[in-house]
Symmetry: C2
Subunit: 478 residues, 2 copies
Amino acid sequence: MSKIRFTEPNREILARRDSIINDLTRLVDPAGLITSTDECRAYETDALTAYRKMPLAVVLPKTTEEVSAVLKYCHDTGVKVVPRGAGTSLAGGAIPSEDAVVLGLSKMNRVLAVNYDDRFIRVEAGVTNLSVTAVVAENGFFYAPDPSSQLACTIGGNIANNSGGAHCLKYGVTTNNLLGVRMVLIDGSIIDLGGDYLDSAGLDLLGLVVGSEGQLGIVTEATLRILKSAEGARPVLFGFPSCEGAGKAVADVIAAGIIPVAIEYMDKAAIEICEAFAKAGYPLDVEALLIVEVEGSDAEMDATLADITAIARANGATTVRESRSAIETAAIWKGRKSAFGATGRVADYLCMDGTVPTGKLSYVLAEISKIVQRHGLRVANVFHAGDGNMHPLILYNANDPSQQSKAEAAGDDILRLCVEVGGCLTGEHGVGIEKRDLMRCQFDDADLAQQIRVRAAFDPRWLLNTDKVFPLDFRCQG
Amino acid sequence: MSKIRFTEPNREILARRDSIINDLTRLVDPAGLITSTDECRAYETDALTAYRKMPLAVVLPKTTEEVSAVLKYCHDTGVKVVPRGAGTSLAGGAIPSEDAVVLGLSKMNRVLAVNYDDRFIRVEAGVTNLSVTAVVAENGFFYAPDPSSQLACTIGGNIANNSGGAHCLKYGVTTNNLLGVRMVLIDGSIIDLGGDYLDSAGLDLLGLVVGSEGQLGIVTEATLRILKSAEGARPVLFGFPSCEGAGKAVADVIAAGIIPVAIEYMDKAAIEICEAFAKAGYPLDVEALLIVEVEGSDAEMDATLADITAIARANGATTVRESRSAIETAAIWKGRKSAFGATGRVADYLCMDGTVPTGKLSYVLAEISKIVQRHGLRVANVFHAGDGNMHPLILYNANDPSQQSKAEAAGDDILRLCVEVGGCLTGEHGVGIEKRDLMRCQFDDADLAQQIRVRAAFDPRWLLNTDKVFPLDFRCQG
């Protein structure tokens, strides 16, 4: 692909590579320093695999103190640092540059404390999302944010991207479920933000750090809110003869003030792809499908479902099917959560991540269809509809360069549309390198300048994840 | 009182007073400029009435553009600005200094937009908290944060202090219910943060601004999440023969993962004061009272109450009484929400605002009792127990200077205790001038230095609410 321009690496740093690596051997355990081309290759890209760059070196510290030592060294010697969790970023947030050291958190994966009385768990940042719930599940608790990549993605990456997931409609995203972090600043100093309990005096730097894509510091420990699992939960499939009807049903449910745990949307293309992969029992004779999950006692679920079913029927739903077993529920969610992977089996795709007000869902779905057709491509829509967090997958053939640039152009058009209707560029995937130039659609110069001043208050030399998030040209003026 | 030291006013600014006032007449409508001693007196303090200073002048702009013009002028000429909503701060957050212009938002009180489909309302920052709900109530919606001062306090002040309220246990505090703001920076530039919809690309400056106590800029417009009112709501009174039992019951409810709408706590002293004022039917033969509100359908309320009642009984509750009428419900909440005012009728008091993990409530209540006794004073406890947000009211006689300093010393001891057990200095009242020196208990130098760098990224000349939040001596080093 060609949309994304990489900056020229700093030649002076490249020339010092051997001496930098030699210095790093004194700062981290030898097993945590990766320098060979073969081994570094595992770190040259993330889930935006169309782009890749070999890093200068990779360090995998085992303690906050090692992270501090590495950052202080990089700060003092002007070496860029690219923080990395599991490398599942869809926006290129973890893609290295040739003159940067990748600092991976994968060896920091211990659980530090579990407290059921005050409902929190403290973990190192390299712990995977799903393993947090695994630790507390036997006591009937869970950690709410559930990105589809939850088997692999780490808590540190979740914090950097303010990750969400299918069940965040009711429980909120990462920022709503994070109580505190230990973070290392670029100069090596270690700060604690938040704590075991809600809120904090002074400035809410914790909220600022969430979603900051590794540019303010490196989180090494996190205290997470855990929640009691509901008495019961039940997904229901609602099939619609039109995308507009499904979109309107979502808008009406939200406008009625009903908050199910999840409202997920799939259009016909996504249904076919996911059903072929997961055998989830999705209806194939509809244009759009909503997976709505409710929870609570049987009586509560029945009551909420009755309200939602009435709204769905009023918007033309032709299929209403409740899950009646744990196996069926697992298949329904496996189909949804594997959507991106399943799509990758049938086509190359570019995954967009715009959010829109739910009242605009039907309109935006129709417009997305027109935009993609205009570029001569196809689209599959599968997304967190209750949150208005859209994930159009623009399907194309990566072996055809003209299709690649068409896909990127269609993606840009879609994100501009999201901003125009009052939404935003990214719900949970981050800006990364992918959308940095589109930031200008969302923010004017005064907005961006203030963001850049705040960024500089943490990292004045712009060493942390340098080429991400902000337009390259704006930064120079900032 | 004597605890709080005011900095010496800038003599050069005082000498320029006439010329500054003359300049301000060209920037705001004449009716929005207050300069006479008599009229300025209304602005010399807030709800921390023990301290007061006359401001240089007061401006009451009617538009964002007027706010921008005033801030740009103050920035360019080095004049300090103290933002003010309704002046209900209990921590001195709106107390002026002699060399500062008070910028009050009271004339900016228009409702700009109401959107039920996407569930938001956009208002100017001077709108009162209660009037937001008043606008949308006829359509069955409400705005969740409900500080006890909600009749008077403004949305701008709520944002500056991240205000909560009795019903925030379930619905979250201001930061959880705010979608976007328009804000004027000290140099006069106008920025928009967030929008009509959740989340945003780039840095979460919106979250940073919430709770920043007027030091980052002046919010002139806010977009607020509105929620559908529940089918029904019912407060229940639980009386306990011991404070420890009541505290333990709260901890057990929270640990069980039950989230009622509100769990409010009153000890015997508070019960007597509030009952005398509001005739709410509070039991007088108990040591501690919990007001627990549940909501939903009758079946849901019955089920939740059964669980809570079992926990309360297991912790020794002797009284369990449900509200059976709207009048009774109103009286129960009137008693709670008037607690501070009712206390003011019987004694002078200092209101603390620490938060603690709910698992530590019983321990902290017992320790507060010991601390206050050690200082030879009495205490009344009335607070948001479900959130662990404690409000001990330290009772004293303001005409006895020795009691004043004892009350302040007891307050400091209590807040240090809150921090020691893993809580924080302030849940919702802000740091203001009252607790700025205690910030050192919560934060070390690295933490404070980073907060100060972020503050400086918005207001490099420290002109906005200058003497608040941060320790005076630390700032100079920062």
